[in-house]
Amino acid sequence: MLFNLDGTKPIYIQLSEWLENEILNGNFESDQKIYSQYQLAEIFNINPATAAKGLNILADEQILYKKRGLGMFVVNSAKEMILAKRKNQTLKRLVQEIVLEAGRLQVSKEELIEMIKTADIGEAEK
């Protein structure tokens, strides 16, 4: 199985994140047709209704657009929108968690900032 099934995140949310990664990785260009709900159901062995829910999240956020009878397509600015969204939501939440844990461990703000500065970013750094 490709998804984390321990229930920490609903499958359709994991699916929408997977689709976002596919777009970020450049596997889908602007105006290219993305997988149908049935293709996704088959790939991940999930109910087609669940797959549709994952697609609809991205359609509601206008990262995908629908063409009647043809399926869903990637909008022009999809990559930028996903990056902005992740920065505002995911990264913010992670930072919140780090600050909270630092508080529990009595790590000072300066110490924490130093830790972030010296963290090994590896290949992600450009």
């Binding site: 099934l5 049935y38 088959e42 991940f44 062995n45």
Partner: protein, 300 residues
């Protein structure tokens, strides 16, 4: 369109109510999981839907007809369970050939390929099969019949992990190619929940919840932390399960009415908020006490 409509259905067995005023609707072309503890009335319900037994009170309609003694319902429904009464004189191959004459949409090729894939000997007899192989053969019958309403009662009982996995995949692939209404009762909710669209949770013969599986995952959350702090946070909430951990810690499952900011405040107060898996939630919801088995051993 509703395939099954059930209103106030009751079935009494010798003074015990197996089904108690049960009402629900099942819509066309959905896969629904029928979940409940042992003795919750799952099999009784499926038997009534298939027309094998009659209800005591209330009404149940399948394709707008009462299933008992209905040719229309028998022709459009297949019910697979672990007490199948198949003719003992026929071998597996002959059973499949006979089944083909009952069901107009029967897929002979699929049946043969599945029989071959699962290494069942076509010349063997059903009664000579092991428990898991019987279940496997039932599954072949159920998928190949391709009827508008397929009922699986504990389809994976006795199957090994590999066959169960194959079964789930086969079911999904055939469902995508030929959408139809399917009801699966199972104790392995964690294994089948991705296949399901809806879940029908029954407890003591009554409908407890009927909702999309996806909603079930967000329906409740688990809070863990200092007992006093947790008590403060769960005061006016609907508590589903509680368990004490160590000296002053507790784990409490409540209805998820938390807003984003409320959740953040709870976290700042030192409470760990975790999602509850659908399968755990069903166990908590269908249990008779809020403390589970621990209550039996707590005498004080």
């Amino acid at each position: 369109m509703s395939v099954i409509e059930c209103n106030g259905l009751t079935k009494v067995y010798g003074g015990t109510k197996a089904l108690n005023n049960l009402s629900f609707k099942i819509e066309e072309n959905k896969i629904t999981g029928l979940i409940g503890r042992n003795g919750a009335g799952k099999t009784t319900l499926l038997k009534i839907i298939a027309g094998l037994i009659k209800e005591t009170a209330g009404e149940l309609k399948v394709f707008s007809e009462k299933p008992f003694n209905s040719l229309q319902v028998s022709a459009n429904v297949i019910f697979l369970h672990d007490q199948m009464n198949l003719p003992t004189a026929l071998n597996l191959k002959e059973l499949l050939e006979t089944a083909a004459s009952f069901y107009p949409n029967w897929d002979r090729e699929l049946a043969d390929r599945l029989l071959d894939y699962f290494s069942l000997n076509p010349l063997q007899h059903y009664n000579g099969l092991s428990k898991g192989m019987k279940s496997t053969f039932n599954m072949i019958l159920g998928l190949s019949a391709r009827v508008p309403l397929t009922l699986f009662d504990e389809p994976t009982s006795g199957m090994d992990a590999a066959v169960r996995k194959d079964f789930y995949r086969a079911l999904l692939k055939d469902y995508i190619a030929y959408p139809r209404t399917i009801i699966i009762s199972s104790h392995h909710l964690n294994e089948i929940e991705d296949l399901l669209e809806d879940i029908l949770l029954v407890k003591e013969g009554k409908e407890l919840h009927h909702m999309p599986v996806a909603d079930l995952k967000e329906w409740a959350i688990g809070l863990q932390g200092n007992t006093a702090v947790i008590g403060e946070w769960t005061k006016n909430k609907e508590v589903i399960y509680t368990k004490s951990i160590g000296i002053d810690q507790s784990y409490v499952v409540v209805r998820n009415h938390f807003t984003e900011t409320e959740g953040q405040r709870a976290r700042n107060a030192g409470i760990d908020i975790t999602p509850v898996t659908a399968s755990d939630l069903c166990v908590y919801l269908t249990s008779k006490t809020k403390g589970g088995i621990d209550d039996v051993f707590n005498k004080g």
